[in-house]
Structure formats: C-alpha cells, structure tokens
Amino acid sequence: MAPTSPAARALARLAAAALAASVLAGCGSWRPKPIEPWVKPYERERLADPIMKPGRDELSARQVDHVYSVREGSRGATGVQGGGCGCN
C-alpha cells in the first residue's frame, strides 16, 4: 500500500533517492569481468575423440550428402563443407 501522509511520502522519496545513489555509486566502480576460456586445452581430450565427429570420413559424408541433395528440395548448411572444431 502506498504511503498517504506527507511525512510518509517524504520518507519514501528519501529512501528511493538513497537507493538510486547507492546503485549509481556501485555502477561507477563496476567493471565487466573479462570472460576467460573456461575449458583449458588440457581438458579437451574427450572432444578430439573420433566419436565426437560422426562425419569424420570425407568420402562417406560426401556420398550421403549427395543422396539427400539430389532427392530433397533443400540444400546447404549441412556442414559437409567444413565447420571445423577447435578441439585438436
């Protein structure tokens, strides 16, 4: 329920101003923390395993892509052309 008496309204304004001032003061000293790579190179061994690359055999992937592309109306973004992975 909103304050009704003049004293209560003044107190509410003061509290709001104090809150805004403290937030602004906090912003002044706030700096975005740089985001560091959170998976270190030595933690990527699992990602380099062949089970993580189902299209690892190029000729095989190319034939399957060809089977789809000559029978389906859509094309592109299959990743067969590449895509890459920074996990080596």
């Binding site: 740089p34 985001i35 560091e36 790579p37 959170w38 998976v39 190179p41 933690e43 990527r44 699992r46 990602l47 395993d49 062949p50 089970i51 993580m52 189902p54 055999d57 190029e58 000729l59 095989s60 190319r62 034939q63 399957v64 892509d65 060809h66 089977v67 789809y68 592309s69 000559v70 029978r71 389906e72 109306g73 859509s74 094309r75 592109g76 973004a77 299959t78 990743g79 067969v80 052309q81 590449g82 895509g83 890459g84 992975c85 920074g86 996990c87 080596n88």
Partner: protein
C-alpha cells in the same frame, strides 16, 4: 543427368575474429587416404562406384588433396518409366584442393568438376577458418562459385547454362570438456536453367515440358550439439548428438531436418555409430501433380513436391592396424535405409500417392599417417 546440383565439396575455413581473446594457431588437416565402394539402390535408381581421396602435407605449411568419385547410374525411376525409357550413364567427379596456413588462419582453396554425358558442373571454392577465444571457438566462412553446362541427348553441344553462388558461415563452440555446439548458415543463389530438359509436367491431364523459374535463392540454418556421455570411469566411450536444420527459399519451399545419433566403442578397436533422421518439406509454389490452370511456371518434379522421408543407419569401424604417432588403418562398413513418402505426387500407374524405400551401402578403408 542423374546428379546436377552439388554443393562444393570443398573443405573449410576462415579468418574472422568475432570473439575476443588471443587467436589460437590452426593445424593443417592430417594426412589421410580413403578408398571407398558405394551403392545407392532405390526407387528404380541404382548408383554405384569407387571413390578415392588422398591428402598429404608438405613443408609443414601446405596440405594438398585430390579425390576421384564415380557414380555409375542405372535409372528406371518412376519419372523415367512413366514418361521415357530407362537409361544408363556414368558421372565422374574430380576434386583438387590445397590448405595453407597464414599466421593463425587456415586457407582452403579447391576446384572440382562433375561430368556426365549431358551435364558438366565446375566449382571453385575458398574457405577460411580460425580458432579464437583460446581455441574454444572456431569460426569458418566460405564461398563457392559453380558453373554448369546443360545438355540434352540428341542435341549437339549445350542447350543452356546455370550459375550458383554459395555463401556459408560456420561456428563451433566448446561448451564444456564434454560438449560442443555448432551452427551453420548457408545462402545459395542460382541463375540460369534450373530444370531438366527431360522432365514433363501435367496440365489438365496432358504432359507438357516443365517450366521452372530461372532464379532461386535459399537459406538454411543448422544448429547442433554433440556430447561425450561416458560415465566417469567408464571403460567404453560413447557420445550422442542432435541436429536441427531449417530451410527456406524463394520458391516457397520450407523444410525441416532432425537428426539424432549415437556413437560407442564396442571393444578395443571397434567403433559403432547409429542415427535416425527425419526430413519434411512443403512443395514449391509452381509444383502441381496435375495443374488445373495454365501458369507461367509449372513442374511435376517430385523433389519439389510435399513429402517426408525417414532414415535409419549405422556403421561399424574396425581398426586394422594402429601404430601410435605413425599411422592408423581402419575398415568401415555402413548401411542406411531411407523411406520416402510423397503427399502430392501420384503414381499414375496406381493412382495412389507415391512412396519408395532406398538402401545406401558403403565399404571403405581409411588411413591416417
């Protein structure tokens, strides 16, 4: 003209620094050789042949690759048997490429030629790739230009041409030590003869040569996740993956593809992969099973109709020989069953919506060295 359109088989790559952080040195693709026999059999069409690929690095900065792919096609598909005579022809495809490291960027250039008696498709591609953000993010951009010559049996020379522009962007993000996310976006523009001189449409029950627009633009976006789900301390590693692709174009085709996969080591030296795939599309604006009005464009190409297909497949790879740090030789057998179900393409022999099953077989030896 068994296979006309072909995405540039080029590999990868690109140097864009979208993310902050130090760039990570890229690696050349590993030296590799593949020898494969492949077979597609379904819907009256049989395509088979050998394929070979060799990739070798030189001077630690350049890797060159070459491939040769043969499709010996015997075609008695429903389009052919209901409007023409079955035929046989061979498609040969050559591909040459080179990868080169410049500072922290891998540059890939390649060229290919796919040749049939009545169709020649040439492509030239360039791709750039770079690892950024401490190697956690890989960004790839690529471009392929394709030029086709279209012929028709019985007509000397070429009857028309087609040109294709493909622009692609790929992003791979390491999420955790076990999970990767990928995103691929590709836009393709076509200009020229985009139909088949042999295919006919039906208008008021009568057959007429199909008439396709001479331009088309499409976009496709694919999102995927792959993760290692091996229990802690588990002896045999396993992974799951999920991919979804949405496609739309100026011919009003909209398509969705969903694919789920599972991979697992069965025993030392034995690796198995399995997947299911579901695909669904709406028909092109000018597609008609039997048009009841005269229009500028009309086709009865079932590739542009409303249909869905379901695939189930698997492959098993056995390591024949492995000398760590020197070379590995693998033997792989793969099988896939596809089931196509058309919604508005009638089998005029039976009067029912057309459907068919197809089988894909692959057997290959691959070696890394």
């Amino acid at each position: 003209m068994a296979a006309t359109r072909r995405s540039g088989s080029a590999a990868v790559v690109a140097g864009v620094t979208l993310a902050a952080g130090a760039a990570h040195a890229v690696d050349l693709p590993e030296d590799r050789a593949e020898l494969m026999y492949h077979l597609y059999d379904g819907g009256g069409t049989r395509a088979s042949g050998p394929a070979v690929l060799v990739r070798k690095s030189m001077l630690d900065r350049v890797s060159v690759s070459g491939s040769y792919y043969v499709d010996a096609v015997s075609n008695a598909s429903i389009d052919v048997v209901t409007t023409a005579s079955p035929y046989k022809e061979t498609r040969n495809e050559f591909d040459l490429g080179a990868d080169y490291v410049v500072r922290d960027t891998l540059i890939h250039v390649s060229g290919s030629r796919s040749k049939e008696p009545d169709y020649v498709a040439d492509t030239a591609s360039v791709d750039l790739t770079q690892d950024v953000f401490g190697g956690m993010t890989t960004v790839a951009i690529g471009f392929t230009k394709g030029n086709d010559k279209v012929g028709q049996k019985g007509t000397p020379g070429w009857i028309d041409t087609a040109h294709h522009w493909q622009y692609r962007l790929g992003l791979t993000q390491i999420l955790t030590p076990r999970w990767l996310a990928t995103a691929n976006l590709e836009a393709v523009s076509d200009d020229g003869y985009l139909g088949s001189p042999y295919r006919v449409a039906r208008v008021f029950g009568a057959t007429v040569p199909e008439r396709d627009p001479r331009t088309r633009e499409s976009k496709a976006l694919k999102l995927g996740f792959v993760g290692d789900i091996t229990p802690e301390g588990g002896e045999r590693r396993s992974s799951v993956r999920a991919e979804y692709r949405y496609f739309w174009d100026t011919w009003n085709i909209k398509a969705s593809t969903l694919e789920l996969g599972y991979s697992r080591y069965l025993a030392p030296g034995w690796l198995a992969d399995g997947f299911v795939r579901y695909y669904k599309q709406t028909h092109a604006l000018f597609y008609s099973d039997d048009a009841q009005a005269e229009t500028l464009y009309v086709t009865r190409n079932k590739q542009l109709s409303s249909f869905h297909d379901i695939s189930v497949g698997g492959k098993v790879t056995y390591t024949l020989k492995s000398v760590p740090g020197k070379y590995d030789v693998h033997l792989t057998g793969a099988y896939q069953l596809l089931s196509f179900h058309y919604k508005d393409y009638t089998d005029i022999r039976t009067g029912s919506p057309y459907s068919f099953n197809a089988h894909v077989l692959q057997g290959y030896v691959s070696a890394t060295f």
